[in-house]
């Protein structure tokens, strides 16, 4: 317990932790400001203005169409008289061409409303960038937390006090998880409050239902899980390499090789659903519950609708992959910690 308390203190006192946390808050703040400045509250005046604008545009479009209507009708009649393939596509009664013009329902007032922040949909959409940002924060904080300890010799120092190596690494990991959970919970609360405030002042909150809140809660849990997994991966890789740079190098390799390289390979080989081999798709599936991939190469049938084949990546598949990765990396880090000399 003493060690856990000391480790938690050390994590919080580290400058990297504080600066990165500040950076995350700043980026989230920018996103909130951007949403605020690009949204407007829908009041009666805005609605009336939209209705007026819609009506005005409809009338203008109608006038424009009516100018060309006699010409259209004449062309239709010429085609009917000539018969043959040229008549196809024209109505039997050429006066019906008048009905082809703009209709009032094509100029609905809602199309003219200013952008507003509808909390229910926008919050869900913004969960993905929020989760990625926090996952990156967790990865770097975790990697630096244990990597700097190895590099500075602090780990060897600590082992002179606490010789049970697996216990030391496990406690460090546990302290990190507690710290990250606290950060995610705190930042999520701030994020939700900030977006709710934007919605109240510059948008709509009335579409929220208990089911929507439940769904947000589940999304929040998935974000937390993703952030913790990112933290575990950063921690375990830096532990294995005994240096922060090991984790940073692995992260770069994951993007360059794991996304760029694999993508080039699977697309050049021509496998079906090539995106299923890219790990970010699984992260997306985890956050959005599922991702549907399409295969258009099969071609469309001669008749009937063109329906491409699909492949669905579910959050369960992604969860299984993440759990496997965590078990593998933590197991390797523990084994490495116990068996390798501290020189």
């Amino acid at each position: 317990m003493n060690l856990a308390r000391a480790e938690l203190r050390r994590l919080v006192k580290r400058r990297v932790t504080r600066w990165l946390l500040l950076l995350v808050v700043a980026v989230l703040g920018l996103l909130v400001v951007s949403e605020w400045s690009s949204s407007e509250k829908l009041d009666e005046a805005a609605l009336r203005s939209a209705q007026v604008q819609a009506q005005r545009d409809y009338e203008q479009a109608r006038r424009d169409y009516d100018l060309f209507l006699p010409e259209q009708i004449a062309e239709c009649e010429r085609a009917q008289r000539a018969g043959g393939p040229g008549a196809e596509g024209w109505p039997a009664d050429c006066q019906e061409v008048a009905a082809w013009g703009p209709r009032p329902e094509d100029f609905r007032a809602e199309f003219y409303l200013p952008r507003t922040f509808e909390f229910r949909w926008r919050f869900e959409e913004m969960a993905t960038p929020f989760a990625w940002l926090l996952a990156m924060f967790a990865f770097f904080v975790a990697a630096s937390y244990v990597g700097a300890e190895w590099r500075s010799g602090g780990m060897a120092n600590l082992l002179l006090w606490r010789p049970r190596r697996a216990g030391v690494l496990g406690t460090k990991l546990a302290a990190l998880m507690v710290g990250l959970t606290a950060a995610v919970v705190g930042l999520s609360a701030l994020w939700t409050a900030a977006l709710w405030w934007v919605a109240v002042n510059r948008g709509i909150t009335s579409t929220m239902t208990p089911d929507a809140w439940r769904s947000f809660g589940l999304t929040g849990l998935r974000v937390l899980a993703l952030v913790l997994v990112a933290g575990v991966v950063g921690f375990a890789v830096a532990s294995l390499g005994r240096h922060t740079a090991a984790a940073l190098g692995t992260a770069i390799a994951a993007f360059v090789v794991g996304v760029g390289g694999v993508s080039a390979l699977v697309y050049s080989v021509g496998v079906r659903f090539p995106d299923r081999w890219l790990w970010p798709m699984y992260m997306q599936a985890w956050l959005e519950r599922s991702v549907e991939l399409f295969d258009f190469r099969a071609g469309c049938p001669a008749s009937g609708p063109c329906e491409p084949e699909t492949y669905v990546i579910t959050w369960q598949m992604a969860g299984l992959g993440m759990a496997g990765l965590v078990v593998l990396l933590v197991g390797a880090a523990m084994w490495h910690m116990r068996s390798r000399d501290v020189t």
């Binding site: 003493n2 060690l3 308390r5 000391a6 480790e7 203190r9 050390r10 006192k13 580290r14 400058r15 700097a148 300890e149 500075s152 010799g153 602090g154 060897a156 120092n157 600590l158 082992l159 002179l160 006090w161 606490r162 010789p163 049970r164 068996s339 000399d341 501290v342 020189t343």
Partner: protein, 331 residues
């Protein structure tokens, strides 16, 4: 009384990048009795730090037995670690934390009262600089901090690897007094150092290691006595008489070496015999003194690391001890 530190037949080999093995410890033995300040000496690469790291559970030995306070380590390390304060090799700390933060975190992790942090900061002379970042510290200050961290848990055994490294002369003296004071209070100190004059002053006993094997061990006085030459340095009133004096002494049966400004008489029966023999031939002695032996000369002799002018010595060039025959073999 049981030894505080007991090492028997310790072996450790490191794998090299090319798949080979480098034998760092080759059946090393050491024993440190309670309440003693024990010097642990050896040339660079002789296995001192590996021994200390193995004792503290940082590296795994390939064979051999180690005991701390009578308990087998590394198995019993979790039980005895609270009684052992150690610094191994150069002091390493997280640069962005202050000395106080560093020690407070260690104290928290080890369940030591925070008041002890101030005590050890005072003890090592860092009280006034305790709030500064460690990265702004000089090597000597970091060394003091390392000693403070080792003292934090009021250890019964203090293991110090090069504690005087980077310290100024006053710091070295303070460190010496500190170790003496701790030993007087019953703390056993195992001190690895290359400052042999310090070791000679501070230590009660000493172990010298070379190429992973023990060369010699015992009380410092006994080790020095065993290697005392008994030679006598002689100076005459006129250096021009040195050659004549050497001839006279040789005729009387002595072994003599003529140096630039003095004679070296090898193990005369008595010093007075030299004076008397020379006086009979009207050669008068201006200075006659026994050639002293110090730990440095014993160390250089035993480890075979005496510098030879114009021939740089390589790191692993030292004496390998043939433990089966009990003799030393020059390498």
């Amino acid at each position: 009384m049981d030894a505080v530190v007991e090492i028997r037949g310790l072996r450790k080999a490191y794998r090299t990048w090319r798949g080979g093995r480098r034998q760092a410890l080759d059946g090393f033995d050491m024993e440190v009795a309670p309440g003693q300040v024990h010097g642990f000496l050896g040339p660079n690469g002789s296995g001192k730090t590996t021994t200390l790291r193995a004792l503290l559970g940082l590296v795994a030995a390939n064979a051999g037995r180690m005991r701390l306070f009578g308990r087998e380590v590394p198995a019993a390390l979790p039980e005895v670690a609270g009684q052992v304060g150690a610094i191994v090799e150069s002091p390493q700390f997280f640069g962005n934390f202050s000395a106080r933060e560093t020690l407070t975190l260690l104290a928290t992790a080890g369940g030591v009262a925070r008041t002890r942090v101030d005590e050890v900061l005072e003890l090592v002379g860092l009280r006034e600089r305790a709030r500064e970042r460690v990265k702004s510290y000089s090597l000597g200050m970091k060394q003091r901090l390392a000693v403070a961290s080792a003292l934090l848990k009021r250890p019964r055994l203090l293991i110090l690897d090069e504690p005087a490294n980077g310290l100024d002369p006053a710091g070295i003296r303070e460190m010496r007094d500190l170790m003496r004071g701790l030993a007087a209070q019953g703390t056993t100190v195992l001190l690895s150092s290359h400052i042999l004059s310090e070791v000679q002053q501070i230590c009660d006993t000493v172990t010298i290691i070379s190429l992973g094997r023990r060369v010699v061990t015992g009380p410092v006085a006994e080790v020095l006595a065993a290697h005392a030459t008994g030679d006598v340095l002689v100076r005459l009133e006129s250096p021009a008489d040195h050659d004549t004096a050497a001839r006279v002494l040789r005729e009387a049966g002595a072994t003599v070496t003529v140096r630039d400004d003095h004679l070296l008489v090898h193990r005369p029966e008595r010093a007075a015999w030299v004076t008397r023999t020379l006086a009979r031939r009207d050669l008068y002695v201006a200075e006659l003194s026994p050639v002293g032996v110090d730990l440095e000369s014993v160390f250089l002799e035993l480890t075979g690391t005496t510098p030879v002018a114009g021939r740089p010595r390589q790191v692993d060039e030292s004496v390998a001890v043939d433990t089966t025959a009990g003799t030393e073999v020059a390498r």
